[in-house]
Symmetry: C2
Amino acid sequence: MSKKIVIIGGVAAGPKAAARARRCDPKAEITLIEQGDFLSYAGCGMPFYIGGMVKEHQELMSTPVGIVRDANFFKNVKDIDILSRTRAVKIDREKKEVHLVNLNTSEKSCIPYDKLVLATGSTPFLPPIPGIDLQQVFVLGSLNDAVAIRTAAAEGARKIAIMGGGLIGLELAESLKSSEYDVEVYVIEMQEHVLPGMLDPEMALLVEKHLIAKDINLLTSEKVLSLEGNNEGRVQRLVTENTSIDVDMVVISTGVRPNVELARAAGLKLGQTGAIAVNEYMQTSDPDIYAGGDCVEGINLITGKPIYTPMGSVANRHGRIIGSNLAGGRETIPAMPGTAIVKLFAMNAGSTGLTESRASHMGYEVISFICPGPDRAHFYPGNNPIIIKLVADKKTRKLIGAQIVGPGDVNKRLDVAVMAISMGATVDQLANFDLAYAPPFATALDAMTHAANSLRNKLDGLAKSVGPLEVKEKLDRQEEFILLDTRTPKEYQEVRLPYPNVIHIPLGQLRKRSSELPKDKEIILFCKVSMRGYEGQLLLENEGFNNVKFFEGGIAVWPFEVDTTKI
Amino acid sequence: MSKKIVIIGGVAAGPKAAARARRCDPKAEITLIEQGDFLSYAGCGMPFYIGGMVKEHQELMSTPVGIVRDANFFKNVKDIDILSRTRAVKIDREKKEVHLVNLNTSEKSCIPYDKLVLATGSTPFLPPIPGIDLQQVFVLGSLNDAVAIRTAAAEGARKIAIMGGGLIGLELAESLKSSEYDVEVYVIEMQEHVLPGMLDPEMALLVEKHLIAKDINLLTSEKVLSLEGNNEGRVQRLVTENTSIDVDMVVISTGVRPNVELARAAGLKLGQTGAIAVNEYMQTSDPDIYAGGDCVEGINLITGKPIYTPMGSVANRHGRIIGSNLAGGRETIPAMPGTAIVKLFAMNAGSTGLTESRASHMGYEVISFICPGPDRAHFYPGNNPIIIKLVADKKTRKLIGAQIVGPGDVNKRLDVAVMAISMGATVDQLANFDLAYAPPFATALDAMTHAANSLRNKLDGLAKSVGPLEVKEKLDRQEEFILLDTRTPKEYQEVRLPYPNVIHIPLGQLRKRSSELPKDKEIILFCKVSMRGYEGQLLLENEGFNNVKFFEGGIAVWPFEVDTTKI
């Protein structure tokens, strides 16, 4: 008799598991249950649909050649039965059946299974504040939500507040601001910086600077207390601890929670993060029940601890592994570094592994370096800067995190970091990979190679450096020290740090003019990207100065009172 | 007493070694000897300078902030003495000194060393044919050559033949064709395909198709017999075995040879490739003499055999390692996969590791797969196709080669392959890395993930496939088989394979209409990218067909009689 496979959830992991199971087991009876209207759609595309960059929501449910993945498609092409608008309400593990309700007819039924898959996804988190149920307050959890948000913008919402400055919140902010509608966009983030968990503060500051330059009204460290409505019950004001904003639409984007009710009621084990616990084969505590996608937790490659990563890419990997294993395979999901990337106007920002803050917080002895550079040969037209921050374990010299931001090609370097972390490379190894080079694609020593070498110099005690935030704190405390600008007179003319303790000596003159500097004061050098700052540090040390360092990234990454667009 | 470091060669590895040695050893006396006029320039930028994309040749010798790296720069900033226009004519290893000649004054001198570095580079190979010494026949070996070629184009050369369809020859062809001059460009390659050693034939064919579409006159499998001149000794005709071309300028780009005369005369060991042999510390057979850049050979990571890779990226890595070791370090150069990438008009082409042809030739039992796909979410505007060919060792399942071509983002995926090969990843591992994903940057399962999964399917016997060349050979032999096109009627309407044995049944109808197909004939399925071809193979097998397969890449990579720009 053929195997009965039942899959609950029709967005990403579910359809992928179904399709893969079909390929591996042509005889299985496969049924997919979905409570919503839409099947197998690209949830990650929703922000782009809302802003109109993706014209029709059908594009998010189509194959690359434009075939819509509806129930007919699954039946005819893949011989998979679809029960849509159907909710799974209970799993009977003893009888091995799932209780169903048809949401159109309220009809109840049961479906037996040999193997069951939970791909129940996640639900947007709703903060417990008054006014959350007003009209024109949206979440972005499903394609229906996306259609509703786009419709509201089309119907005239012009002052839009987005609660939450994470990946989706910021993508949505960009998309709405770039749409055909002339909207004011507010982003309100409770944490000190946007993209919390993904970027360290000095890197997040660079993203924030860009968002502000693109006319996004950004409020960080702001807790929303309530939403207030008008007489018709439509939202008209958002109130925080410090201010209030007139709005005619609010989108709540404060993260998602895994849908685990079915699993919990069936007695399946939940993990530390609250999501369903699965083993490396993606099996729940019941070996006949698999789970994948936004409803499960994974393992962080570096810490070995559970992590919750509700991402489309992860869900698709889960789906394939589950599909193989449903058909008798033994495929395993590896622990992962946790990778994210986002495009925000002309700025790209990516992160993998641990941030420095998180790694330090977890007790790692870390060392980091911030290194800006062009993404391709500086003489090749169209080159753009990227700023790489590498984080390594001081003892093992292994890379444990990377953050990359900038208008340049972040994408390529982020995957190099993903691969390095995943394969356990040290920064010494990272410095010598035979990466792709030609002037249109990279610099002769790629930006990642350069960043790795810089971090090695710091690890080896050759480079003595501090980050921009430490310098800013020293300035704010009005400490006595010299900020030594080693750039050319032309560069100094164009833009400079506006602090009284700045001295300007171009690197080419520093050897001759070092006697102008006091030996008893701390000197912190910098240039555009602090390469000359580093050379200057070595030069001054050789001249007998013993309290010199440079600040990482130079003026190019100074996130404070400087218009770095002029650099 | 301070260490005397002498470095011969001032382009890439030499200056890098000098600068790094200075940083690691502030007291050393460092002298750099260069016979040419220019120091520390980006040789890889020369093709772009010739076409005018890089405006001034000085840009190739400048730092990213526009400081020209001349002798003053090296002295003032780095305390490195430069002897320019000076040739090293002999190394006296017993006395530890180098004999020099000043090329301006013919004055002879000697310079003592404690440590010596050979960064003597390479010289363009000149094929032994008549007419090679005619006027308007150029090589591209130095910045002087680049200036001469650009001047010749500016002065009216309009029919330009490039001998050699390798990386530099093709970059030069693009650059000249894209320049402000209305030139006819011929590329003559002796081998069967362009980019030999870098791409397998079916991948090279795609590049060739693009070059031809961009009006490059491409002659492959053509051996140049002679160049003929006019009365004034200017080249006017290029004669091959099969044809002759009127030309008014010829650039010879048939590879380079390492400059090893100094080393050979000094009794230093040369390697199998003819370049200087070095150990992992970049020391020659004399431990006080290091060598790096285009004059040395490296080790191929996969074969363990010597390879000669005269690349700017490699030279820079050599330079840093030598610089560290001159100052007492013990840095090592790893074996490398051998990576190359090139932009040709709207097409990018990259390769790392072994091609399938080369690996088979060397006795590896290989398995490969060709997999096209979009470089970012198919609904995200501006997505472009890339075509990935992966080559794996059948026994170990390790990735040993990757070739990627297409208008899309080849760069990112090539580095993923470089990292996978360098770290010894299997294709199973490659399929589950947590690569960067968001719709503007990738597909939910990245093209590389998808390619790796496809190759796993083939390795596991699930996918049964052949490459496009095998299909073409069957067609040419007029074998009896069915080419089953599983695309939609609309796709079939737009473009189709023009062969009589094509049958068209869309995948969605295949389950119902399989009885229309004969069970006793070989059936080769395809679609746009052969995903549906693969599904069709599985479907037909399940219906009792036992001689079905699909051809890899589908119509999207069919390099023959189809206008794939319409797909």
